[in-house]
């Protein structure tokens, strides 16, 4: 038998504290290798997964498609909702060992972007090359008049790091917007903006287009919406939330007398009932992970980030509602940290690092959020950790309200480059497989 006395601390095992510490010491002496195994195993697994998943992402081939908006889109964002529901079915997941560990497969992400170059706004989507046909088919099925044109990635024209920025005499403001309340709560969607009466219809896209159109010469304002479809069963996680909202509430004071005391049940207010209804409707739709990132670059003399910050905040505020969710810009990850923010030293240097990280995330369209230790180590600088990056959860309905080709309510002419002519299909009966000679074998033979 081992000697249990004085293993870790030279304290009398007879005293209370000494005995207690001694017990811990004995416990650790017998189990340290098991505890260490737990720590090292999880860390090694995480590091391996991050390595493989980064390799998977680096191998990915992408294509950037520009949406050329026609003169008139006489449809509601409901079509975009259908498109996102279509997109949700493309979700992939590692469901075998070889897919999960050696390949590092992760759910596919899609990017929907708006970018304003010196006041002219463009709409883009960035999709994997392999899935391009499927996504084009889905999109053109709902928006037959919109042209999808493959372009070079416009991010290559932007400055790639802070030295490039300085060489061009530019400054940057960049951060992300996230949903600030409970993830089950939806935002105000296109259903609210629609109305059978033409006088009361409007499109939230118009506000974004106006803000982006106010950009002056040499400036750039871009917004990217990164989505990742969530598992079909994800909404089940919110069951306890609905349960909580359904529970009846009781008043504080007891009523009645003697044996017949009872707590009166409180009626639900119309607002509460409406919120519950909205939550249930929201969770019935496919859910996505959402990251909205915004970047504003301008020459230093004309740099005024208020235009981007407050203007876009105002545009995002269209979706907010007191009883539902709202978008907030992530100040903690903004490009303007001061000495009052952790770690309280070198504010100028931290600004530089934050600007660079946000710019890199913007150019690479990365989430940048962390799930485990290796991701913190890889995406952080000692002056700026990636602990404050936010992502939110949104349904296809909210996503369609946030991003859709502007409808006929929006004045697009001064702000976008439109495709001019209306598309009409070829007349039916034209030979589509080969020329006329191919038809000959179907014709009755001359004898």
């Amino acid at each position: 038998m081992p000697d249990f006395g004085n293993l870790l601390f030279s304290m009398s095992p007879q005293s209370l504290l000494g005995g207690f510490l001694n017990a811990i010491g004995v416990f650790l002496e017998y189990t340290w290798w098991l505890i260490l195994f737990g720590i090292i195993f999880t860390q090694a697994r995480n590091a391996f997964l991050v390595w493989r998943q980064e390799t998977w992402q680096a191998k990915m081939k992408w294509v950037v498609l520009e949406m050329k908006i026609p003169r008139l889109i006489e449809t509601s964002p409901r079509r975009m909702d259908q498109f996102f529901q279509h997109l949700h079915t493309l979700r992939n997941e590692a469901d075998h060992l070889d897919e999960k560990y050696p390949d590092g497969e992760i759910p596919q992400r899609y990017m929907f972007e708006m970018a304003s170059f010196e006041g002219q706004t463009h709409f883009y989507m960035r999709v994997p090359v392999k899935q391009r046909n499927m996504i084009e088919a889905a999109f053109l099925g709902y928006y037959p008049d919109v042209e999808l044109i493959e372009i070079e990635d416009y991010m290559d024209k932007l400055p790639q790091n802070i030295t490039d920025l300085e060489r061009r005499g530019l400054d940057i403001w960049c951060t992300e917007f996230y949903l600030n309340k409970h993830p089950a709560l939806p935002i105000k969607t296109y259903k609210v903006f629609e109305s059978p009466d033409e006088q009361h219809q409007f499109d939230p896209m118009s506000s974004f287009l106006e803000v982006m159109g106010k950009i002056k010469q040499g400036e750039y304002l871009g917004m990217q919406i990164l989505v990742e479809p969530l598992h079909r069963n994800y909404a089940q996680r919110f069951d306890p939330v609905i349960e909580e909202l359904r529970e009846p509430k009781y008043g504080k004071e007891k009523m009645g007398a003697g044996e017949f005391t009872f707590q009166p049940m409180m009626m639900k207010s119309p607002g509460e009932t409406e919120t519950l209804k909205q939550i249930e409707e929201n969770l019935a739709k496919p859910l996505f992970v959402l990251v909205v990132r915004v970047a504003y670059m301008a020459p230093k003399p004309t740099f005024y980030d208020g235009l981007a910050r407050r203007g876009l905040r105002g545009a995002f505020n269209q979706y907010s509602s007191a009883d539902l969710n709202y978008f907030k810009d992530n100040v903690k990850n903004g490009t303007k940290p001061g000495f009052w923010d952790f770690p309280y030293v070198y504010p100028e240097q931290r600004r530089r690092i934050r600007k660079q990280r946000n710019l890199k995330l913007y150019l690479g369209r990365g989430f940048g959020t962390h799930d485990n230790l290796p991701e913190i180590i890889l995406y952080s600088h000692w002056l700026a950790f990636n602990l404050n990056l936010e992502k939110s959860i949104i349904s296809s309905e909210g996503l369609a309200s946030l991003f859709h080709p502007p409808t006929q309510m929006v004045l697009t002419a001064p702000h976008t480059e439109r495709s001019e002519s209306r598309k009409v299909g070829p007349s039916s009966g034209l030979p589509i497989y080969g020329d006329e000679s191919a038809l000959e074998k179907f014709l009755p033979k001359e004898s």
């Binding site: 038998m1 081992p2 017998y30 290798w33 260490l36 195994f37 090292i40 195993f41 860390q43 090694a44 590091a47 391996f48 991050v50 390595w51 980064e54 390799t55 680096a58 590692a94 469901d95 075998h96 060992l97 999960k100 010196e118 290559d156 024209k157 400055p159 790639q160 802070i162 030295t163 490039d164 061009r168 005499g169 530019l170 409970h182 089950a184 010469q217 040499g218 750039y220 996680r237 919110f238 306890p240 939330v241 909580e244 909202l245 607002g271 509460e272 919120t275 020459p299 009883d323 240097q349 690092i353 660079q356 990280r357 940048g368 290796p374 180590i377 890889l378 995406y379 952080s380 600088h381």
Partner: protein, 226 residues
């Protein structure tokens, strides 16, 4: 309305793949089998070998259990820990390639479209000096011709860089204000030059001429013409 309940996240165990869970079950099962098998063997050896249940046999049994737990299982896990730690370091080394390279003062990127540097020509400097000297006289005709010549000099260099187009305006349009700081003023100067060239009897003030020449000079400097 405030919601207190947080979404119920599934446990890490249920997030694992079916095969992974089975591997973990088999691993733990084998360890337990080994441990309790050893326990059983030593139980039989200590108490059923004829010596019966007494203090001495209990001591022998507990010592054996101690050895099985600390030496056998502990040794196995220690070796496993060392191997896993080496594997962990290897994974970090591999993943290090993908880190976000954040530096306070990074070098300029490869993608940054640098205007092609022109060979520094002493004749350009001489030419420029002539232009400035001519403008310094303050005479109307000489100032006008100085501006037109400075414009021609800039145009010559735009051609040298490899920009194509019918007029100088076409060449200038291919440069982005994003990339060249002094482009804005250059356009103004170019417009002034057009006014001079196309309007008969256009009068240039000394101030206008100075501004235009400064714009041309800044542009040439930024393009590293001299």
């Amino acid at each position: 309305m405030k919601i207190k309940t947080k979404p119920k996240n599934p446990s890490a165990w249920s997030q694992l793949l079916f095969v992974e869970r089975n591997i973990a079950r088999v691993f733990i099962g084998l360890l337990l089998l080994y441990f309790f098998g050893q326990l059983f063997i030593h139980f039989v050896y200590s108490f059923m070998g004829g010596q019966g249940f007494n203090a001495e046999s209990l001591r022998v049994f507990l010592e054996a259990v101690d050895i099985v737990w600390r030496k056998h299982l502990g040794g196995f896990f220690t070796v496993l820990n060392v191997l896993l730690f080496i594997f962990l370091l290897y994974c970090y080394k591999q993943a290090w390639k993908f880190r976000m390279q954040l530096k306070l003062y990074p070098p300029p990127s490869d993608l940054e479209a640098q205007p092609k540097p022109i060979k520094k020509d002493p004749k350009v400097m001489q030419h420029w000096r002539d232009i400035v000297l001519r403008a310094n006289t303050g005479q109307q005709e000489k100032m006008r011709s100085a501006i037109i010549e400075a414009d021609a000099l800039v145009d010559h260099h735009l051609k040298n860089i490899g920009l194509e187009g019918e007029h100088m305006g076409d060449r200038l349009k291919q440069i982005r204000a994003f990339q060249v700081k002094s482009l804005d003023n250059l356009w103004k100067a170019h417009r002034l030059r057009n006014d001079i060239a196309h309007t008969p009897g256009y009068k240039v003030t000394a101030r206008q001429a100075e501004r235009a020449l400064v714009a041309y000079r800044d542009f040439l400097k930024e393009m590293k013409a001299f």
